[in-house]
């Protein structure tokens, strides 16, 4: 059994409620931080832990926190990014709906460390049923003196708000999220300035993922060094993986980073092997944006070693032969899956979600979707494959925010690894086997 941190008490009945959560050690980190530690000491522990952002980019959290500007007389904000919209990712939903207090606790401790007096949880519109769960948890935290004025008699005060988005993928991009939180249209801002300098209402702001903030409690309780021991190398700690697709046991699993991909797919503890005993064809390892990898490449590195579930190992081989851990949306596809149809689903998604500010993404995502649609209808030509390749190359890196990259990478990797399948769609559109769409 791998070590559990975030989901350690997931099995406890009634863990959603304050009493049960508190009985199982809940809010100890707040007590410890506020009573015995300075804010700087908390930041120092987080730095030592090697915790990295769990939203997808994997940026070291301690470093992000240390970038936060601290001018006199200007408020600072902590914003929790709960706009989990990446296709294939549903870990935050699980965590927030099952153990809401773990996020509230992590946010209080983190706010204390950053000297924040107002924190926000920006949650996606489709998670409306979680809003009431979170609000209840926050209410309980207020009632028990963990939030509000003069927490634990320390003179520190904090208010925590839940803000519901309207259901746009783009609002998961941190600057678009801030715009939306300010009540404007959710368009990404042009950086610099970064939120650490000028974020919410022009004030220094830290935006962190749900899972990242939840992990802070453990780091404060047990110490950063203890957290750094879990996992492998620079991929410290545990990671929630949303496993979906053609596996026996889809769901959210907390893994200790460093287990092999093969074990993750086949072990009874996690995915439980391939559905109906089919063969593995490909895996999208970190949510729809990351490059898709065929079975041999996802299971083994170029040197024949086993590929591990960690930031470094999954990225091994660069973009030609590797992928990314991303947000941990682990989508497994069996031998019957059509890569082209699956790619079309992704392309349609990115087209729909593009904000339309910058031209490469606005026009390019739509163009790619149209070409893929043509391909599935059996009207494409071989030159369309090259055209697809060129379009993605011209989007990638040239846009305001990472949505352009997110739309380009799946196309690039699908063509790179499964070109023959695209050619099949062009050459024999009638006979091509497009039985099973991806089971998200």
């Amino acid at each position: 059994m791998g070590r559990k941190i975030l989901l350690a008490h997931d099995h406890v009945p009634g863990i959603q409620s304050y009493e049960v959560y508190r009985k199982h050690g809940g809010y100890n980190s707040v007590e410890k931080a506020i009573k015995t530690m300075t804010p700087e000491a908390v930041v120092e522990e987080v730095k030592k832990s090697g915790l990295r952002g769990r939203g997808g980019a994997g940026f070291p959290t301690g470093m992000k926190w240390s970038f936060l500007a601290k001018p006199e007389g200007v408020p600072r904000y902590l914003v929790c990014n709960a706009d989990e919209s990446e296709p294939g990712t549903f870990k935050d939903r699980y965590l927030m709906s099952r153990i809401p207090h773990t996020l509230v606790e992590g946010m209080i401790t983190s706010s204390y460390a950053l000297g924040v007096n107002a924190a926000y949880i920006y949650i996606r519109g489709e998670y409306f049923y979680i809003v009431s769960i979170l609000e209840k948890a926050i209410e309980e935290a207020y009632a028990n003196g963990w939030l509000g004025k003069n927490i634990l008699g320390s003179g520190y005060h904090l208010d925590l708000y839940v803000h519901v988005g309207a259901g746009a993928y783009i609002c998961g991009e941190e600057t678009a999220l801030l715009e939306s939180l300010e009540g404007k249209r959710g368009n990404p801002r042009i950086k610099p300035p970064f939120p650490a300098i000028a974020g919410l209402y022009g004030c220094p702001t830290v935006v962190n993922n749900v899972e990242t903030l939840a992990a802070v409690s453990f780091i404060v309780n047990e110490g950063g060094d203890e957290y750094a021991k879990i996992g492998i190398g620079k991929s410290a700690g545990t990671k929630l993986i949303s496993a979906s697709g053609h596996i026996n046991k889809p769901g959210v699993y907390e893994i200790e980073m460093g287990i092999s991909v093969e074990d993750f797919i086949n072990s009874e503890e996690y995915c439980g092997g391939m559905l109906n005993g089919k063969k593995l064809k490909a895996v999208v390892a970190g949510g729809s944006s990351v490059p898709i990898l065929p079975a041999d490449k996802i299971l083994h590195l170029a040197n024949g070693e086993k590929r591990l579930m960690s930031y470094e190992s999954l990225a091994d081989g660069g973009f030609g032969g590797g992928t990314m851990l991303g947000s941990g949306g682990f989508i497994v596809m069996d031998e019957d899956t059509s890569i082209v149809e699956n790619l079309f689903t992704f392309a349609r998604f990115y087209h729909h979600e593009s904000c339309g500010q910058c031209s490469p993404c606005r026009e390019g995502t739509a163009w790619m979707e149209k070409i893929l649609h043509k391909m599935i209808d059996g009207h494409a030509t071989l030159s369309d494959i090259d055209l697809l390749w060129e379009i993605q190359a011209k989007i990638e890196g040239n846009t305001i925010c990472p949505l352009g990259d997110a739309a380009a990478w799946p196309v690039a990797s699908a063509i790179r690894h499964f070109r023959s399948e695209f050619e099949e769609y062009v050459n024999n559109p009638k006979s091509v086997k497009k039985v099973i769409r991806m089971a998200l």
Binding site: G356, T365, K370, I400
Partner: protein, 327 residues
């Protein structure tokens, strides 16, 4: 002060200058093209991605190159920065891509578009685009909308540069003009097709880089290259009154703000000057306007051509058919 080198040419500029401004100070040869940036409008730029440049050396302190191409209009110079614009193959390639994206849904109806001849998109595609199209999909179209009685919005031609939105936000009072919908369905719109009704609304016509926002008092009156611009002014209570008048014969066909060599107006003008003062007696004429840079009008593109009526009969060579060609 910061020393910056663009395409091998060095200039010293004050801190806080953008790469684009520094390039413009050096001269038009190294200045990246812009479609959405407008120096007179705050927070403009960053959207169209035509001004992308490659930063090959970050600064003297941190010489690492920037990993991605950056929008020169929104990136400040650092001391010792080295930038590649037209000397960078990456930039040329990316810019070609941007032109293709911008034209993807553009109707290419230049022959019937009032902007033709002074259209930034036309210039951009001549200089950086490709001569053929690679898309055979139906282009996005919209119904024409009248914004008030003087301005027409033809969204089909729009490239969503957001300049008019910035004008509406910053120069005119009351925010009645913005972007609705998302992605490639985005469109410029007024709320519930309300008229944009204030004294400076006409400036959205001047800032529009394409023919999406046009002057209804000028529509289809003349091709711009058949009109003669003169510089003129009048005493105006609302604005500076400094304008260009566009003559055809004795008639003033339209009035616009004076544009500099980057195609940006020097001063915004009011609607009275723009729409109501259309006779020579309203104005003090200063002299003919010189139009610089790559304008079709100034380059006399069309003067080398003769109209069919100007040909003399003996100049026209009759088509001869060779014996073997008869089939």
């Amino acid at each position: 002060m910061a020393k910056v080198t663009i395409d091998g040419r060095t200039i010293e500029v004050p801190d806080g200058t953008t790469i684009l401004q520094a390039a413009r100070m050096i001269g038009p040869e190294v200045a990246p093209p812009t479609m959405c940036y407008y120096s007179k409008l705050k927070t403009s730029g960053g959207y169209c991605r035509t001004c992308l440049v490659e930063v090959t050396k970050g600064s003297e302190k941190d010489p690492r190159p920037m990993p991605k191409l950056v929008a020169s209009c929104r990136t400040n110079v650092m001391d010792g920065m080295e930038v590649g614009n037209i000397t960078s193959p990456k930039v040329i390639e990316a810019r070609k891509g941007v032109v293709e994206f911008l034209l993807l849904n553009h109707p290419l109806d230049c022959p019937i578009c009032d902007q033709a001849g002074e259209c930034h998109l036309q210039d951009l595609s001549y200089e950086h685009g490709s001569s053929k199209t690679r898309t055979d999909f139906e282009r996005r179209t919209f119904e024409k909308i009248d914004i008030g009685d003087k301005i027409q919005l033809h969204m089909t031609r729009c490239i969503l540069c957001y300049r008019c939105v910035k004008v509406a936000n910053q120069i005119t009072d009351g925010r009645v003009h913005g972007v609705i919908n998302r992605g490639d369905h985005s469109e410029i719109s007024t709320y519930v097709e309300q008229a944009v009704d204030n004294d400076f609304s006409g400036n959205v016509i001047d800032v529009c880089p394409v023919g999406a926002l046009t002057d209804k008092t000028f529509r289809f009156k003349s091709r711009v290259w058949f009109t003669k611009p003169v510089t003129a002014h009048r005493n105006c209570e609302k604005c500076s009154g400094k304008v260009n008048l566009w003559y055809k014969g004795e008639e003033v066909l339209r009035v616009t703000g004076r544009k500099d060599q980057w195609g940006e107006v020097e001063e915004f003008i009011c609607n009275t000057c723009r729409f109501d003062k259309k006779s020579t007696s309203d104005w003090t004429i200063e002299g003919p306007t010189t139009i610089s840079r790559h304008s079709v009008i100034s380059a006399n593109h069309y003067e080398v051509f003769k109209k069919p009526t100007e040909f003399k009969l003996n100049e026209v060579k009759p088509l001869t058919i060779q014996e073997g060609d008869k089939s």
